[in-house]
């Protein structure tokens, strides 16, 4: 039982709350606290951060004395692929343009699935999806997203 504490869901939730609460508390020290009558920018966040830390500590303490579910395995590969694809999209959208950014995102995300195969039907589907986005979002709704980014036109970023 004692061994398992470090794998309990409760324990880690509490730890996350404490980390966020303490960081918020430390950062809030730079903001003027003021008084109750004239609350400074630090007053409310300090109070909330203190409460959050207290809640976190309570959860952690409780996780030692109470049986709880264990954290099961993280799906590292899908997680990293999906999040990575989104970040790549963010990097590419203004530099390489929407079509390329979209292709990278879709391929990256798709690779997270066990059923990922390179083949004609999914490729055509992706092309249709990208075309749909270009037509609806850029041409139809007029969202200013470059179609061909500065990477290709040679004009500096």
């Amino acid at each position: 039982m004692r061994v398992a504490v470090g794998r309990r869901k409760d324990f880690w939730t509490g730890v996350i709350y404490i980390v966020i609460g303490l960081s918020a508390l430390v950062i809030a020290r730079n903001y003027a606290l003021g008084s109750a009558a004239r609350m400074g920018p630090g007053y409310f966040p300090t109070a909330v951060a203190l409460l959050l830390t207290a809640v976190g500590v309570t959860i952690v303490v409780r996780s030692f004395v109470r049986e709880g579910e264990l954290v099961d395995r993280f799906a590292w590969k899908p997680m990293l692929l999906v999040l990575g694809s989104i970040v790549a999209f963010g990097i590419l959208i203004n530099r390489a343009g929407l079509p390329l950014a979209a292709v990278v995102l879709v391929l990256g995300c798709a690779a997270a699935s066990e059923r990922f195969r390179i083949g004609w039907p999914p490729m055509l589907g992706m092309a249709a999806l990208v075309a749909f986005c270009v037509i609806v979002f850029v041409i139809g709704m007029g969202i200013p997203m470059p179609l061909i980014g500065p990477w290709f036109t040679g004009i500096g970023e």
Binding site: K9, R38, V48, A75, L83, I86, G90, L105, S113, M141
Partner: protein, 501 residues
């Protein structure tokens, strides 16, 4: 009667060709995305939110409301046909709905759900029209102390009604408050919690937060299951309930509507509680409770009516007080703020066309759902069969484009990834992120009202309890906490959420 004049104004606004069209688009898109297995209404709305940015405020809100009912209805369809409820409140519908579908009565289950939802929607719309104005008038007399206490009550209720651990929900609320106040402090001009990142000076993007926590987090969680769920949809028989069905569902629909309308106003998971409550109630009242769970038509009618009534009346606190009672309403508040409207009691007086137009459009949206959905059922079945591994890259792409398009900064796209990570981690830890979204919306308002209340009282915190309305709200909030901590009641609460599952 003033109500009729107001409703007439609303009818005029809502039946304008443009608004009808957006209501129609919203309802269709909402259903189409909502039927996709594993996509709940919150994710659906978050994903489709960017489509409304370019519209005028009235049209945008009408379309969003349409997306909301559409998504709810779509979720029930999926729950009935393939036993994959997209959200907690359609879990109940799946219990008997799916059994009916397996017995070849899918069409009758769907029709029952549609009729129940429509009736509940109609009644709930009338309730909003009747009760929203007086409530808004009361709210206009509220000072900062009352507002602050009201928000405390709202958040406490959200903690109590959240499923899962109370402490987890409390922590989520506090994190939401902290995230909500990041950016420039309106009062002092101080810049808080931006970590020196200039894009954060205006605060954390609401859309990135909602889409990350719910949309992206959900996608990753779904991918975890590895081998894909096989979706098989049986044949759908006649789409009309039999005469006997009709007789059996009248009572459950009426009771479900009443319960749902009442509970929907409560902060927290009103609709969820209503669906569970209505189901349990019918089972208790039934002459043959053994039928429940084996395809009782009452078990579809009651929770569907309750669910939809609750979804509708949850607009009351949002429209009159500016306080969202569930994550979906938090999204609506976010959408209103993006449109430049601060939700609150003054909206009704200042923008009557928007207010009443939205209310009437709710009813029209429900009517459209009733007329459209049954004939279109074959299209929804095609959507349900659409394999997830083709679907989710599209979801992520729409989220990324949507987040980017709001401010045209790639920083928001990175935020999307960050909150997606957070959403997934919270899911793994069984920490429900819904309360976070509520608190995020309320954070800045809460701080401001507390500051004003204390400024007026010269720093005396007793102002919160010396004003009767404010005191009453804090007492109710405290009462809720006591109730939940009391062991006996606590067991009832846990039972209420677990029963029948």
């Amino acid at each position: 009667m003033e109500v009729f004049a107001n409703l007439a104004l609303g009818l005029q606004t809502a039946t304008g060709l443009e608004n009808l069209l957006y209501c129609f688009i919203g309802v269709c898109l909402g259903t189409a995305v909502g039927v996709l297995p594993g996509l709940g209404p919150v994710t659906t709305i978050a994903m489709l939110l960017p489509l409304t940015f370019g519209l005028p405020p009235v049209a945008a809100l009408i379309m969003l409301a349409g997306i909301y009912y559409g998504a709810q209805y779509g979720g029930s369809t999926t729950a009935i046909l393939v036993n994959m409820p997209g959200e907690a409140s359609s879990v109940v519908t799946a219990l008997d709905g799916y059994q009916m579908a397996r017995q070849g009565k899918a069409g009758r289950a769907l029709a029952t759900a549609a009729i129940g939802s429509f009736f509940a929607g109609t009644v709930a719309t009338l309730i909003i029209a009747l009760f929203a104005p007086p409530l808004a008038e009361v709210a206009l007399t509220f000072g900062p102390a009352e507002y602050f206490s009201l928000m405390v009550l709202g958040l406490v209720a959200a903690i109590v009604l959240a499923h899962g651990s109370l402490l987890h929900a409390a922590g989520m609320i506090l994190i939401g408050l902290l995230l909500g106040i990041s950016g420039t402090d309106v009062n002092s001009g101080a810049v808080r919690y931006t970590l020196g990142i200039s894009e954060l000076v205006d605060g954390i993007g609401f859309v990135a937060l909602a889409m990350g926590l719910f949309g992206v987090g959900e996608v990753i969680a779904n991918l975890e299951h590895g081998s894909e769920r096989r979706v098989s949809v049986g044949t759908i028989d006649r789409l009309m309930p039999t005469r006997e069905d009709c007789k059996r569902i009248v009572g459950p629909i009426l009771r479900g509507t009443a319960l749902g309308s009442l509970l929907g106003v409560l902060p927290g998971g009103g609709a969820l509680l209503a669906a569970f409550g209505a189901y349990t109630l019918e089972k208790r009242l039934s002459k043959n409770p053994g039928e429940f769970g084996r395809g009782a038509v009452e078990g579809v009618a009651a929770p569907e009516a309750a669910n939809n009534a609750g979804a509708q009346t949850s607009f009351i606190p949002m429209l009159t007080l500016g306080i969202p009672s569930n994550p979906t309403m938090a999204l609506m508040v976010g959408a209103m703020i993006i449109q430049g409207i601060q939700p609150g009691p003054s909206v009704m007086g200042e923008q009557p066309a928007l207010f009443w137009g939205l209310i009437v459009s709710m009813w029209i949206g429900n009517l459209m759902l009733l007329i459209l959905n049954l004939p279109l059922i074959r299209i929804w079945v095609i959507m349900i069969r659409f394999p997830y591994h083709f679907l989710y890259p599209t979801i992520v792409l729409f989220c990324a484009i949507g987040v980017f398009s709001l401010n045209n900064t790639n920083f928001d796209v990175y935020l999307l990834a960050l909150f997606g990570l957070l959403g997934y981690v919270f899911r793994k830890l069984d920490a429900e992120p819904a309360p976070l979204l509520l608190a995020f919306v309320l954070g800045p308002m809460m701080e401001e009202f507390l500051r004003r209340a204390l400024l007026i009282s010269r720093g005396d915190p007793l102002v919160l309890v010396s004003r009767p309305v404010s005191a009453a709200m804090l007492i109710i909030a405290a009462g809720l906490v006591v109730m939940v901590i009391t062991p006996a009641l606590r067991r009832t609460r846990e039972k209420a959420f677990q029963e029948e599952l």
